[in-house]
């Protein structure tokens, strides 16, 4: 058991002196440092992998998301987060437009709606958001038939799938952030 001396506390991190190194450690919900609870980098990485595996299994994400991760490296360490953030911004714009269009009983420009759907489809495909993309395909089919009711149903489903995806991706980013914090910042102690 390593002995540790608490130097400074700033929730949720604590600065400890462990074996002559200053180390920041993540505090768990109990207020105890995560490493003391037996959790650490490995556990968080396992949690991340488990979440990703579930999302792939459910078809929420596909292999394109892996391609995104492969493009991230030291020269672009936040690439996935940046791309996904842009995706969220663009998607919410499109969802608002679609909702406004279909809220208007007189709306008839289904061709324009098709263009928006193509954009949504394309960007979802680019980040590997498989289920969202598939709903866009169904939505587009309804819009091509000028089927207002079908479009409304598809929009509801699209909003639901998009929210689910967003929540899961935020969960993933939080785990990643915790993992990199738990890996710790090490400074040599000076006496």
């Amino acid at each position: 058991m390593r002995t540790a001396k608490l130097i400074e506390q700033c929730v949720p991190l604590s600065l400890y002196l462990i074996n002559n190194e200053y180390v920041y450690k993540l505090l768990g919900k109990t207020g105890l440092p995560v490493w003391m609870l037996g959790l650490g980098v490995d556990r968080l990485r396992a949690d991340m992998n488990r979440l990703l595996a579930i999302l792939f299994h459910q078809g929420v994400l596909d292999e394109q998301f892996l391609q995104l991760q492969q493009l991230q490296d030291e020269s672009s360490p936040n690439f996935v987060f940046e791309v996904v953030t842009i995706y969220f911004r663009e998607s919410e714009k499109l969802l608002r437009i679609l909702r406004d269009n279909l809220s208007d009983r007189e709306f008839s420009d289904y061709a324009k709606m098709g263009i928006h759907l193509n954009q949504f489809l394309g960007s979802s495909s680019s980040i590997g958001a498989k289920r969202v993309r598939n709903v866009c395909v169904a939505f587009r089919a309804a819009s091509e038939q000028n089927n207002r009711l079908g479009c409304l149903r598809a929009l509801e489903l699209l909003e639901h799938e998009y929210c689910f995806l967003k929540n899961k991706l935020y969960e993933l980013f939080q785990l990643e952030q915790q993992r990199s914090m738990a890996a710790g910042v090490r400074y040599p102690a000076q006496h």
């Binding site: 492969q70 493009l71 842009i86 193509n118 394309g122 960007s123 495909s125 680019s126």
Partner: protein, 233 residues
């Protein structure tokens, strides 16, 4: 991050989708290309119009062009990769304009699309596109660009050669023999490299055509390589 000063190819990427621009930029940078992105065909032509003679005043703002451009300096673009579906000028329209321009027609053009429409793909290839990529574009697709870039670079060098010969004939006879030998050597080298590039290009073209045939057979959107049907060289 070290950059090889000489051998970096400059790619102009055209896409109206901000996400796809970010993706293609990253894919190209990871593959050691220098990248400029623009969001429309007209902005692409404006950017290309800065090569050689300057036609009028450029109106591109630096926020829509991701690299610095010095107007009095020639900007060299080695390849253009463009989305097909764009408002206003489509990628196909852009392709036609480039191939119709005497100054730009030798720049290889690659088209990307999220839709797998064999007639569209064939039309683009017949009208001068080197490659047609289905979106989302992968690293393996970007790796197929290098042969096209090498081939056009050597074509450009070959065109410069006859000019060199004319100049050298006016010089005194003594160094002429040495120069002739050197030129012959260079020509031989370039021929053999061109052969290799041609072989690669044929292999690439046949794999693209294979892709078109197979994609038209399979109703799903899955790529041939994952279903084990294709073996690209």
């Amino acid at each position: 991050m070290g950059i090889a000063a000489e051998a970096q190819f400059h790619v102009l990427a055209v896409d109206d989708s901000v996400i796809d621009r970010k993706m293609i930029e990253r894919l190209l940078k990871v593959s050691s290309f220098q990248v400029t992105t623009v969001d429309s065909g007209s902005k692409a032509l404006e950017f290309l119009g800065l090569m050689g003679d300057v036609h009028g005043n450029p109106t591109i703002q630096s926020s829509s062009v991701s690299s610095h451009v010095h107007h009095h300096q020639e900007v060299e673009v080695n390849l253009i990769i463009t989305d097909y579906c764009m408002p206003g000028m489509t990628g196909y329209d852009l392709l036609k304009k480039i191939k119709e321009s005497s100054s730009l027609k030798d720049i290889p053009v690659v088209i990307m699309s999220s839709e797998n429409v064999p007639s569209r793909i064939n039309r683009c290839l017949e009208d001068g596109a080197e490659e047609f990529f289905l979106k989302p574009v992968r690293l393996s697709d970007v790796n197929r660009l290098k042969p096209h870039l090498l081939k056009s670079k050597f074509k450009a060098q070959q065109q410069q050669l006859p000019q060199q010969e004319e100049l050298e004939q006016k010089e005194p006879d003594q160094p002429q023999q040495k120069q002739q030998q050197q030129q012959e050597k260079e020509e031989e080298e370039m021929e053999s490299i061109e052969q290799k590039v041609d072989e690669q290009e044929q292999a690439v073209q046949s794999s693209v055509k294979r892709k078109i045939v197979e994609e038209s057979l399979s109703p799903e959107r899955t790529r041939p390589r994952y279903s084990g049907l294709t073996m690209a060289t």
